[in-house]
């Protein structure tokens, strides 16, 4: 029986290269389609129903891993990567087929041998792969890492700027929006102070009032007013901010 395969890689030259060594060591294999991105790969698998999909991990649109999650069980998947240390370790552990770029002929011969054995024994492609991939994806650096807000969009004259969140002096509630105040100026962001409080790193930003969040590293001094509230001064800023009683405990240890 002849088998069909698709190759998905955003770099044309690399598809050509894989095709050429495949034709050399497995001439009977039919390459029934090539995809430049994840979306195309998905469409090809659905329309051409190949037995094998070679998927580059890094592709524009959907990544190789995301494609795999959706087509697991439909065909056998071989991942291709230039350098995804973490994924490679996981593939090793879970016995998932993968190739490293530049693809070496010896390694490809091994992979093909394994594929041939699996295909000839006519077992179904493992649907479990979807879970394995999901697991790997969830552990990939950047995904599970703290998703604290790192950038703020600020309107600056006629342009929108991206400011690292640590440059903010403080945030102040303005109706449904929030005013962010930095050394360079201030700007409204389309998020309520309540939402922001969830998104900011609590180690770096403290809520001191229902409507105020301050950058801890910018605090100059806190003193107590006659009414029992706190009065907070930020470095290099003239205005005084009020610390309501509920939040005064934050400064007890200072």
């Amino acid at each position: 029986m002849t088998y069909k395969a698709i190759i998905a890689d955003d770099e044309k030259e690399l598809r050509t290269y894989l095709k050429s060594i495949l034709s050399e060591i497995w001439p009977e294999l039919v390459i029934c389609g090539e995809a430049e991105n994840g979306k195309e790969a998905l469409e090809l698998v659905e329309s051409k129903r190949p037995q094998i999909a070679f998927l580059d991990i890094r592709m524009p649109g959907l990544s190789g891993m995301e494609v795999a999650k959706r087509i697991a069980g439909l065909c056998r998947i071989v991942f291709i990567t230039a350098f995804d240390q973490y994924a490679v370790e996981a593939f090793e552990k879970e016995a998932v087929d993968y190739l490293l770029k530049p693809v070496s002929k010896d390694r490809l011969i091994q992979t093909i041998q394994r594929l041939k054995n699996q295909l000839d024994s006519s077992t179904e492609p493992p649907a479990r792969l979807a879970q394995v991939v999901e697991q790997i994806l969830s552990k990939l650096p950047g995904r599970e890492k703290s998703d604290f807000l790192r950038w703020i969009k600020m309107q600056n004259k006629d342009s929108v700027r991206l400011i690292p969140v640590e440059e903010a002096d403080y945030f102040k509630a303005e109706d449904k929006y929030t005013l962010v105040v930095t050394k360079e100026g201030e700007s409204l962001i389309r998020r309520s102070i309540k939402e922001l409080a969830q998104e900011l790193d609590p180690g770096q930003f403290w809520q001191i009032h229902r409507g105020t969040i301050v950058n801890v590293s910018k605090i100059d001094k806190v003193s107590r007013s006659l009414t029992g509230r706190g009065v907070l001064k930020l470095k290099g800023r003239p205005e005084l901010l009020t610390v309501s009683r509920n939040y005064l405990h934050l400064f007890k240890q200072m």
Binding site: K12, F83, K101
Partner: protein, 360 residues
């Protein structure tokens, strides 16, 4: 533990310090005169005591300053020796002047000139010693503070240098994805298009050599940096084909200006990695270098997927921001702007003159 502080007398001999020491001397002499008047050791006349003690004080101070200026002693022993000579000769001269002036104002002769002279000499030496110790301690404290300040500055600037070197090293790191993908391309091009393969390899070699040499704090020019970025973009162009277009504007006037190595490269890499690579249809990168008053302004604009893809970036950009701060303080900055209709514009502005090293 007390640290030995070398006495650098040159620091000590400037007009401001000499003046302040004369003022202190006059005050001290006045105090001594008051003390002598009060106790009546010499005479009950304040004005007489004042005349003698001022002439002694001023001659001590003048002789000590003169001797310090002449010999510039550095060890405590030679300083002590000068102090002894200063006090002895100061006493002899001061007493002569004092008594001379006294004699002019109060023509009455002192009843026991021999005794008063001896008494005055003893008192002069005693008070001279005390005064000398006072000035010595004062100078020592001040010099000590200066040394501490100097060491603090030295330590801070060496910390700053280390930090800068580490950041530079980080930025000179070659992205493994880039390296292996490029090599795969070259491998394939050897068969399909040897000419392109060759030029890609030439660009890769150029890029590798430059970024490896950039781990050293050599001086680089804008020309060299842009050259390296061209090599990088040429490689990316061969990889991405029609998905990448790029344009570089580098006026001749700025080519030879010094520019820190590997400061611009992360921005270009970021534009590719987070701007154009994730976007299916790709886009364009424009690099514009310009002079603006005494600033160098470099814009890296991409038409990629914009701020939305910035969530998982930041390290490279953060390092650039950090390095600009270390190198230029408040005088340099990095701005990230939204590009219309899509993509991001990163702008670096740094002073045209060389990296400042005195700012902490």
């Amino acid at each position: 533990m007390e640290q030995h502080i070398p006495i650098n007398i040159k620091h000590h001999l400037n007009a401001r310090h000499i003046l302040s020491e004369f003022i202190y001397t006059i005050l001290l002499s006045t105090l001594i005169a008051a003390f002598l008047t009060f106790t009546g050791i010499t005479t009950k006349s304040f004005i007489m005591n004042l005349i003698v003690s001022q002439s002694l004080g001023i001659s001590f101070c003048s002789i000590a300053t003169l001797l310090l200026w002449l010999f510039k002693p550095e060890r405590t022993a030679s300083l002590l020796f000068i102090a002894v000579i200063g006090i002895v000769s100061g006493t002899l001269i001061g007493v002569q002047i004092g008594f001379f002036v006294l004699h002019q104002i109060f023509p009455v002769t002192l009843n026991q000139p021999g005794k008063s002279l001896f008494q005055v000499i003893i008192l002069a030496i005693t008070f001279g010693g005390v005064a000398w110790y006072f000035f010595y301690s004062k100078a020592r404290i001040r010099l000590g503070n200066e040394v501490i300040q100097e060491e603090k500055i030295k330590r801070l600037s060496s910390e700053k240098e280390t930090l800068e070197a580490n950041l530079r090293l980080l930025q000179a790191q070659i992205e493994p994805h880039f390296l292996f993908n490029t090599l795969s391309n070259v491998l394939s091009l050897i068969d399909t298009n040897p000419t392109d393969g060759k030029s890609m390899l030439v660009d890769l070699i150029h890029y590798l050599r430059t970024s490896l040499s950039r781990t050293l704090p050599d001086r680089t020019t804008l020309d060299q940096e842009i050259d390296m970025i061209k090599a990088y973009l040429n490689i990316q162009k061969l990889r991405m084909g029609d998905r990448l277009h790029f344009r570089i504007e580098l006026p001749d006037a700025v080519r030879q200006l010094p520019f820190p190595p590997m400061l611009l490269q992360p921005l270009v890499e970021n534009a590719i990695k987070h701007g154009l690579e994730p976007k299916m249809e790709g886009g364009e990168i424009t690099i514009k270098v310009a002079e603006k008053d005494d600033l160098i302004r470099i814009e890296v604009t991409d038409t990629g997927s914009g701020f939305s893809s910035f969530h998982n970036t930041g390290v490279g950009i953060g390092n650039v921001r950090e390095r600009i701060k270390l190198l230029y303080g408040e005088k340099g900055r990095l701005i990230l702007e939204e590009n219309e209709p899509n993509g991001v514009r990163a702008i670096i502005e740094v002073p045209k003159r060389d990296v400042q090293s005195d700012h902490c």
